[in-house]
Symmetry: C3
Subunit: 163 residues, 3 copies
């Protein structure tokens, strides 16, 4: 998606995709985890990978979930594990590229940065990387697949929340 493509989507589709990315970020940052599965299609795929593994062609994901039911399970586990969750997250998303990928479907690539703010006010860079998405745009835009390619391979605390 680094080259200008002949199959550029129109403004309406671009707007809807950018809007989807923005609502996703705001939902996570507002800790509305229960809304998270609803950004995916019923059988949507969510995958976290490292840039290192992607570059090596290793398909081993750090995390893999398929379908809203699995995403809901993931949220339930997180809620159960994190009774007390004082930190906050802030997603910054930029450099969104969109191209058509079949009927009512687009591919999107975007850069992201997530900042974590601790209870004591300390802020740190929590994660950075790329979103590589396949998005169904009608009747409303939803992720058929969202792959989160993280720049770092350190994932001890990273798995605490969806990215």
């Amino acid at each position: 998606m680094n080259k200008k493509s002949g199959s550029e989507p129109d403004y309406e589709i671009r707007f809807r995709v950018e809007n989807l990315h923005a609502r996703y970020a705001h939902a996570l940052d507002a800790d509305k985890l229960e809304d998270w599965p609803n950004f995916f299609t019923e059988d949507g795929i969510y995958r976290i990978a490292t840039a290192e593994n992607e570059a090596r062609g290793l398909p081993l994901p750090v995390l893999y979930a398929e379908g809203r039911a699995m995403l809901r399970d993931r949220v339930a586990s997180l809620r159960h594990a994190n009774i007390y969750e004082p930190q906050r997250y802030r997603h910054i998303v930029s450099s969104i590229l969109i191209e058509e990928a079949g009927k009512n479907t687009v591919k999107s690539a975007a850069n992201f940065l997530v900042v974590r703010v601790m209870q004591d006010g300390q802020a740190l860079l929590f994660a950075s990387g790329r979103y590589l998405d396949r998005i169904v745009v009608v009747p409303e835009p939803l992720y058929a697949e969202r792959v989160v390619v993280c720049d770092s391979r350190r994932f001890d605390t990273l798995l605490a929340i969806p990215l």
Copy 2:
């Protein structure tokens, strides 16, 4: 503003609002504080709050200013206090959501990150959070209200500049 709304503004309005956010960021980063009040309506409100207080429903703002005159006073105080201001700030704004909110008015939510670069070149995360805005779009877009909801509750140095 996390749900897709039926009252989505058209491209022209979206463009004007995004342009307002961008010009605001560039003005602050260029230390053009005297221009800052002019991004607001004559009786525009500027408020800094913490995410913690907002979540608790505590209306106590960290900072509150109403009307361009008060904003100008604020700038004058800052200029008086900071004879020598060697640091620089850089605003990053993303995930802008916009929805109509009455005649010639829109609401906007956006994520932001501010980096501070010290005299010696050291860069640090200075602030992150959300802009929650009410914007009058004609004749030119201006903030009728800009609420800066900061993720951190530490504000010792944060009040040095407008966010």
Copy 3:
């Protein structure tokens, strides 16, 4: 470019410019340095400056390259020097302002932030500043001039990669 201008470009041009900025960022972050000169016109100028020097009116750039041939030389030097380059970079670009600047040409200003992720997973703020661009928009958008104004004046490691 901080004031609302009468010569705002249309959506099509805005889209093409934002797309150029996004493809540029993704190419660098994917370490596709050999593609980098192709984002410039044949005699395009690439310049890195510090905000401090720009403010003082000192035209001394940290780095200056004119024309694709010089940019290719730069890439060759980087490739030769950095046999082993384990770190990753992530560009975040926001607050893009665009205005017309003659036939088939626009000026663009944008804020950027570059994060560097080291081999051990440590992430740090590598650079921040402004892109000040002159862009030819037809037949395809290319940088006639890209000036990278960095907030920091520390450049020991900064010169390792194009920004």
